[in-house]
Structures are given as structure tokens and as C-alpha cells.
């Protein structure tokens, strides 16, 4: 196990390095950050001063060399726009995004799995057809539109929930979280549901397909014949076996939730990383874009690792092999 993890970490460093080159090269091809930054009225002299102050007067390979040298010391550069450490700005926004993504993930599991299992067991029932139709909607309606509809219905028309922003936060272990206050929770509900909708549908489908396949297997029949209660058969024997694909997919999707909650965060003005990255792309804030993508690469690498470990716990057949690995 340890060898496996170490090997994966070494691979990850390589992935991060290649990504840094691609991302840095990529952002340097697009647009002119100075044009995005300076006042219209700035004259030629002022523009040149700004170019120098951001180090953009040097050729790209020198810029990249400096970037790698600094990054090796944990310095991912200063944001062009805010003038502060890019990493610091991103880390500041991280709790909001993680909170939102975790809330959505929780919903996907708590709502998606029971519904999926139910419709797998009773695939002909009317309720199960409703669930499946609902999951098609969840898949196909664009997040942007659904978010706006949520705001229209629940905030503007009914007035039940606030429309945008993050509510009151309290500090928990040094991190600002909003789910512990009523005000914060009320702000969290709409964006979390909006973000979760697609994942819930996904989990329903996975759980249903798994259930339908496994319920006919010999070991389930055997368990029944042995006289185990239906509850135990479903909760232990069935659940354990449908969880493998669900965990894999959810693991990867969690990375996606963090990295690409852009749309939901923009619609709900949620002060997370997604909103930051879209602002940074529009303003060509290269250091923030690069630092963000570096972090996302790390997040994906870590999640994949966690998924692999979870795998082996859930299914003894896929024990990670130390020796061969």
C-alpha cells in the first residue's frame, strides 16, 4: 500500500509539471493582460511601466523559468489584478467552494442512492417511473437555467430563500463556514441543490443499474434462501456491491464539482473559486489561472488516490498489490 501511494505521488509530480507547462504556455497565447488592466486614458509611457511591473517585458521562456523557480519554493506568483499572492487569493475562496461541493455531494448520496435502489428493486412501479423521468430532467436541463428558475421561484416569487450570495459565516477550526448558521444555511440551499441536481440524477442511474444487475445474482438468492431479512439483504449484501461504481464516479465527480462549479457560483454570486476563475479568465489574470489549475490538478490527483484506497476497502478483490505495483 505505502509503495503504491508513493509511486502515485511521484507520478503526480510529473503530471503537475507537464500541466504547468501546458497551462503557462496556453495562457500566454491568449490576449494582452495589460490591455485588460490599464485605464483607457493611460498613455504609452504608463502602459510600458505596467508591462515592466508585471514582468511581461521578458520573453515567455524567461517568464516560465521564473515561474517554475518560484513555484518550486511554493510561490505561484502575484495576481496581476489584485497584486496579492495568487495562491492566497485562491485559498481564501476555497472554503466556500468546498462547502458548496460537499453539500451537493451529500445530497447526491442521501437522495440519489435510496431513490436509485428503490427504482432498481421496483422497476415497474409508477413511482420508479417518476424517479427515472425526473433524473432525465436532472441530466438534461442546463444548470444555468435551472439556477435562474430557482431564484425566480423560491426567491423572487415565493420569497422563501435569499437569491444570491453567501450568508453569515462562523469560524470552525479556523475556517469560515456558513452551514452552522440559519442565515448561512438558507443561502446554501439553492446553490447546493442546483449543483447537486446533475449528480443526484447520475447516482440514481448508477444505483438503479447496479441494483438491477446484482439483485438477480446467486449470492443474493442464497442470502434470501438462508432466511436473512430483506432489510439485511439490501442494506449489506446489495449495497456493498453497488457502491463500487458509485464511489468511483462520485470521486471523480467531486473533483468536477470543485473545479467546475463555475456556472452555479456565477448565477448565485457565490464567493467561491469558480467565480474567481471565471473573473480571472475574463480579466486575463494569468498567475491566478495558472495557480488555480495547478491546485485543481492536485485535487484530482488526491481524489483519485482516495478512490483507489476506498475501492480496496469496499471490494476485497481489488486489493492494491504492493509487490507488483
Amino acid at each position: 500500500m505505502t509503495v503504491f501511494i508513493i509511486r502515485r505521488l511521484v507520478q503526480s509530480v510529473l503530471v503537475v509539471f507537464v500541466m504547468s507547462f501546458l497551462v503557462f504556455g496556453g495562457v500566454n497565447l491568449v490576449g494582452d493582460p495589460v490591455e485588460m488592466m490599464v485605464s483607457d486614458e493611460a498613455d504609452q509611457e504608463e502602459r510600458e511601466r505596467v508591462i515592466r511591473s508585471m514582468g511581461l517585458d521578458k520573453p515567455w521562456y524567461v517568464q516560465y523559468g521564473l515561474f517554475v523557480a518560484n513555484a518550486a519554493q511554493g510561490d505561484l506568483g502575484k495576481s496581476f489584478v489584485y497584486g496579492e499572492q495568487a495562491l492566497g487569493i485562491i485559498v481564501q475562496r476555497m472554503p466556500a467552494t468546498f462547502e458548496l461541493a460537499l453539500a451537493a455531494l451529500l445530497m447526491a448520496i442521501v437522495i440519489g442512492i435510496p431513490l436509485g435502489v428503490y427504482s432498481g428493486l421496483n422497476s415497474e412501479s409508477r413511482f420508479s417511473k417518476v424517479i427515472m423521468a425526473g433524473s432525465i430532467l436532472g441530466f438534461s436541463l442546463p444548470t444555468f437555467w435551472v439556477g435562474l428558475m430557482f431564484i425566480m421561484v423560491f426567491a423572487v416569487m415565493l420569497g422563501w430563500l435569499p437569491s444570491t450570495g453567501r450568508g453569515e459565516t462562523v469560524e470552525l477550526l479556523g475556517i469560515n463556514v456558513s452551514f452552522l448558521t440559519t442565515n448561512g444555511l438558507s443561502h446554501l440551499i439553492l446553490p447546493a441543490v442546483n449543483l447537486a441536481l446533475f449528480k443526484i440524477s447520475l447516482v440514481i442511474r448508477l444505483a438503479r443499474a447496479g441494483t438491477r444487475e446484482i439483485v438477480h445474482m446467486d449470492f443474493i438468492k442464497f442470502a434470501r434462501a438462508k432466511g436473512l431479512s430483506t432489510q439485511r439483504v439490501i442494506m449489506v449484501h446489495l449495497m456493498k456491491n453497488i457502491m463500487i461504481p458509485v464511489v468511483t464516479v462520485l470521486g471523480l465527480e467531486f473533483g468536477g464539482l470543485i473545479a467546475f462549479s463555475v456556472v452555479t457560483e456565477t448565477v448565485f454570486a457565490w464567493p467561491g473559486m469558480g467565480k474567481l476563475i471565471i473573473d480571472s479568465i475574463q480579466g486575463l489574470d494569468r498567475p491566478v489561472i495558472v495557480a488555480y489549475l495547478m491546485i485543481i490538478v492536485l485535487v484530482f490527483v488526491v481524489i483519485n488516490l482516495v478512490v483507489d484506497v476506498l475501492y480496496s476497502i469496499l471490494d476485497p478483490r481489488v486489493r492494491i498489490q504492493d509487490v507488483k505495483g
Binding site: S39, E84, A155, G159, T164, D279
Partner: protein
């Protein structure tokens, strides 16, 4: 229906009873664009300056029409063509309790022009001037040459306390050094989340109505509107033009509109001989650049129906333009009128210029910078095609557009031959657009930095030079008007389209003095 109504009422009642502070004392604003810093010298840009002016004062303030009024200077006058004297206000205190005097002015002028991290410094306004302290409440500013724009320049630089030496944007952003003399004090700023301020009771000017102001950045326009309609915010800026008609019918919402100093216009390549985006009808390269001919430029202007663009594309929320600034501004020409729509006349001019059948061109424009920019480009392309200039519209995000549309001098002209852009005259008079958009490119003088078509006319340059050295207001206004008549009128160096009109929306009972500089200022929002 009855049940739903009751629910809404119950929810509304609940919302009111849970509100932490009385509504009448707190104003919550949903803002389309967030500042990049609280430091007033870090980034000379509208979104920053509009926030800075809540916390900091200037020697001379600009009101909502950009007229100058006394700020920290109670009076100012030109002793002679090169010497200006500013009398400072006595008894003013900064938010941290320290006294305001001439040292703070000298410090601020130096800091404004020399901020090491500035993304766009205020050097534009502070350089070329020598500041001397005569006594604690008198500052003298001298220039080498006559310099009439002195009051306008100094109305753009915010004054900070000289107690805050060696404190940069970091200390301002976290509130430690954000002490000005403005009407509000910073409480906290969490980027992307909230900016909170409270009234400063020691403010030297008129006391603002709101005790507390909470600003929430909401850059998605539909979400911003929803936040207003749901009551989460009291006031929003940048209302999309498509929603205006519907909001006018909404009894709970009050709109405030006003023309801005921003003109939308077309640049035409008047430099290259072989323009790459212009071709003859059979697709062959042109032997000469048609846009170098003033008749072609005039034909383009005549072929555009500004009324139609304003009416259909802008939903009536814009004003057709015939020069650089809308009515009411200093230095405007009384002779220049909005070009009438005249496609027949345009065809005639094209034929005279040697293009009876026209030619092919591409009109480039951004699609996320100005109000409805991409739609305007498409409309104009159709109008020009009608007179024989077969125009292809090509729009792209501003981050890509501006790099390729920028001129870097005659050695590296803008890639586009024909482009739509906008210009806001933050000084509130035409010298800045004349200098930057129409003045002959000259790096040492700082002219023509945004002259994307590399237009050049020495006659206009000379008049503008003279205007910039004339301290007498009446004479200067006449010279600026004359320069505009040549650059925009006779020469058609650019084709003006319209002035943007900005729209703000608030809850019923809140009115806002719409500002020509497009800024959203909390103390200008007042209950009526």
C-alpha cells in the same frame, strides 16, 4: 391564489422581523463590477474610483455631471499661466483622527504617481507638476508650460494621510490604512463576497442619508436583477437593456437613467496601404486602402441609421452621437450635428471615390465589453452591405479582441482595419479623446495611444496643441470645439455612433442621481 399570497406575506413578515437593522438606515447595493483594491492609488479604473470616493476625498470633487466643486480645497485659482494656488479646507480630520493639511496633499500627489504596484497609476494626472507647500493650508502647483487641465487633473486624485507612509494596497484592503476624509469608513472587505462601510460623522461635506452601506458584488446581470426583485438588495447598477421595458411597469421598482460620457464609435484604418481585411468583391486584395479616402469614411457614416440602432438594438436606451461628448459638456461643438441616415448620398460618395460597387470589409468588435456591442456590430454590417460595402461582422471576447485591435505605433498598427470600440471621457471634456483617439501617434507626447486607425491631421494637432496651452476657459472651449469639428466632422477620423445611457434600479422610493461617469455612489442614492 389566496394561500400563496398569505405565504408570501408571511415570508415577507419573517424576513423583516429577522432583518438585523432597520431598513431606513442601511442600504444594500448589488454591484456589477467589484474593485480590485481599496487603495485609491492602485488602479485608476471606474470600479475602483467609485468605491474610493466613499472613503477618500479629493481636492476638487466632480458632481454627477462631472462639474467641479470644492472638496478638500475650498478655492483654487491660476496666479498666472503656469502657477496654480489651492486653498485647503481647515479642521478636516482623517478617519483615524489625524489632521488634514498641505503635507497630506504633497504626499498623495507623490504616491498617486509613484505607486510601485499600480496597475494603472494616477501619474497621468500628477506628472509634470511641481507641488510646493506655501503654508499648512495653501499648496502651489507649477508647470513648465501653461496647463489649463490642472483642476480637472487634481479632481481625479484621492487624498490619503501622510501618516500612512510605506503602506500599500495590502494594508488598505484589510482596512488598517484605509483612512481617508470621505463620507464613509471601511468596515470590512471580503473579495467577491461583501464590502461594508459605515457613515463617518466627522465628514466635512453634506451628511449622507445611510448610516451603513453593504455592497455585494453580483456580476451576472439576471442574478443581480433577481436579487433586487427578491428584496435581497435595495439598489443595483448596470440594468440590462432588455429588462428595462418590463421593469418600468413594475410598481415596486424605480429606475434611474442618465447619459454617460462614453461614446461608441468606429475606427477605420487610415494608415496601411494593403489592408488585410478589405477585399474587392471578387475576393482579390485591394490595390489601395479605401478608408484612406475621406469620402469613403463619410459614406460609412451616412450609411448608418443611428436612430434604428438606438431604437431596435439599444431598446431606446442610448443617444445618437455626432461628436465626442453628449450635450452639456465643456468644449463641445455647437455646429456638429448627428449624421442623417442617407444611403443614396453614401452610394454617390462611394462612386465618387472610385468604388461604385463598393468592396468587402470585416467589422471587428468585442462581445462582452459595451452594452449590446455584438448586436451593434451585426446591425452596422447589414447597413453597410446595403450601400455596397459587403461587411462581415466578427465579434469576440474582449480579452482576445483588444490585444489584436490595439495600435502600437506605425511600426505595429492594429490588426483590425475596421473596429467598434468605446471611450469614456473621465475628465468630462473632449481633450482626452481628441488626444488619444485622433491625435497623431506620438509616444513622447503621449498622443494617439488609442488611435486605432492611426488617423493623422497636422492641422487638428496644431489646434489641439494650442487648446492644451490655453488657460482661458472660453478660448479653450472654442479651440476644442474647432478641433472636434475638424477631426470628427471634416475628416471623419472616427465614426461616432451613440452615447451610452446607463440604467440603475432601486426599490420604489429610492432615487439616484445618474452619473455621467457611470459610477455607482451610495450617498447619491436617496429616499424621496
Amino acid at each position: 391564489m389566496q394561500i400563496r399570497k398569505t405565504l408570501v406575506l408571511a415570508a415577507a413578515a419573517a424576513a423583516v422581523s429577522f432583518a438585523p437593522q432597520a431598513y431606513a438606515q442601511t442600504l444594500t447595493i448589488g454591484l456589477g463590477t467589484e474593485p480590485t483594491s481599496i487603495d485609491p492609488h492602485y488602479h485608476n479604473l471606474g470600479p475602483n474610483n467609485q468605491i474610493a470616493q466613499h472613503f477618500f476625498s479629493r481636492l476638487i470633487e466632480q458632481d454627477h455631471k462631472q462639474n467641479l466643486s470644492p472638496g478638500l480645497a475650498t478655492s483654487w485659482k491660476a496666479n498666472d499661466d503656469t502657477t496654480w494656488e489651492f486653498k485647503l479646507r481647515k479642521g478636516v480630520k482623517f478617519h483615524d483622527g489625524s489632521d488634514f493639511n498641505a503635507d497630506d496633499v504633497l504626499f498623495s500627489m507623490h504616491r498617486g504617481g509613484n505607486h510601485p504596484n499600480a496597475k494603472s497609476s494616477f501619474g497621468l494626472y500628477t506628472k509634470g507638476k511641481t507641488y510646493t507647500k506655501v503654508d499648512d493650508y495653501t499648496v502651489r502647483v507649477t508647470t513648465a508650460k501653461p496647463y489649463p487641465l490642472m483642476p480637472v487633473d487634481l479632481s481625479s486624485v484621492h487624498i490619503v494621510s501622510d501618516q500612512e507612509k510605506d503602506k500599500w494596497e495590502g494594508e488598505y484592503n484589510n482596512g488598517k490604512s484605509a483612512h481617508g476624509t470621505g463620507p464613509y469608513k471601511l468596515v470590512k472587505w471580503v473579495k467577491g463576497e461583501v464590502l461594508e462601510m459605515v457613515r463617518y460623522d466627522g465628514y466635512h461635506g453634506a451628511k449622507p442619508h445611510w448610516k451603513r452601506v453593504v455592497i455585494k458584488p453580483i456580476n451576472s446581470a439576471p442574478s443581480r436583477l433577481a436579487a433586487l426583485l427578491s428584496g435581497d438588495v435595495d439598489f443595483i447598477d448596470q440594468v440590462p437593456t432588455v429588462d428595462i421595458a418590463r421593469l418600468k411597469k413594475n410598481a415596486k421598482v424605480e429606475l434611474s437613467q442618465g447619459v454617460s460620457n462614453r461614446i461608441i464609435y468606429l475606427h477605420m484604418d487610415q494608415y496601411r496601404d494593403n489592408p488585410q481585411y478589405m477585399k474587392s468583391h471578387d475576393g482579390k486584395p485591394l490595390t489601395k486602402n479605401p478608408m484612406k479616402d475621406v469620402r469613403v469614411r463619410k459614406a460609412i457614416s451616412m450609411a448608418i441609421s443611428r436612430d434604428l440602432i438606438v431604437d431596435r438594438v439599444m431598446e431606446g436606451v442610448a443617444i445618437p452621437a455626432g461628436q465626442l461628448l453628449p450635450e452639456g459638456f465643456f468644449g463641445r461643438s455647437s455646429k456638429l450635428m448627428v449624421q442623417k441616415y442617407d444611403p443614396e448620398g453614401a452610394k454617390k460618395l462611394l462612386a465618387e471615390a472610385g468604388y461604385p460597387n463598393g468592396f468587402q470589409a470585416t467589422l471587428h468588435g468585442p462581445n462582452n465589453r459595451y452594452i449590446n456591442d455584438a448586436k451593434i456590430v451585426e446591425a452596422i454590417a447589414q447597413m453597410l452591405t446595403r450601400i455596397g460595402i459587403k461587411t462581415t461582422p466578427d465579434t469576440m471576447p474582449k480579452s482576445v479582441f483588444f490585444k489584436r485591435g490595439k495600435n502600437k505605433g506605425p511600426a505595429k498598427p492594429a490588426e483590425w482595419n475596421f473596429q467598434l470600440v468605446g471611450w469614456g471621457s473621465s475628465t468630462g471634456e473632449p481633450s482626452s479623446p481628441l488626444r488619444s483617439l485622433l491625435g497623431t501617434y506620438d509616444k513622447t507626447k503621449g498622443w494617439g495611444s488609442s488611435n486605432r486607425g492611426l488617423h493623422s491631421n497636422p492641422v487638428m494637432d496644431k489646434i489641439l496643441d494650442e487648446a492644451l496651452a490655453t488657460v482661458d476657459d472660453t478660448k479653450r472651449a472654442a479651440l476644442l470645439a474647432k478641433a472636434t469639428e475638424i477631426g470628427v466632422g471634416e475628416d471623419q477620423g472616427i465614426v461616432p455612433l451613440h452615447y451610452q445611457v446607463n440604467t440603475w434600479a432601486g426599490k420604489k422610493g429610492l432615487t439616484f442621481k445618474a452619473r455621467t461617469d457611470e459610477r455607482t455612489v451610495a450617498y447619491d442614492v436617496v429616499p424621496n
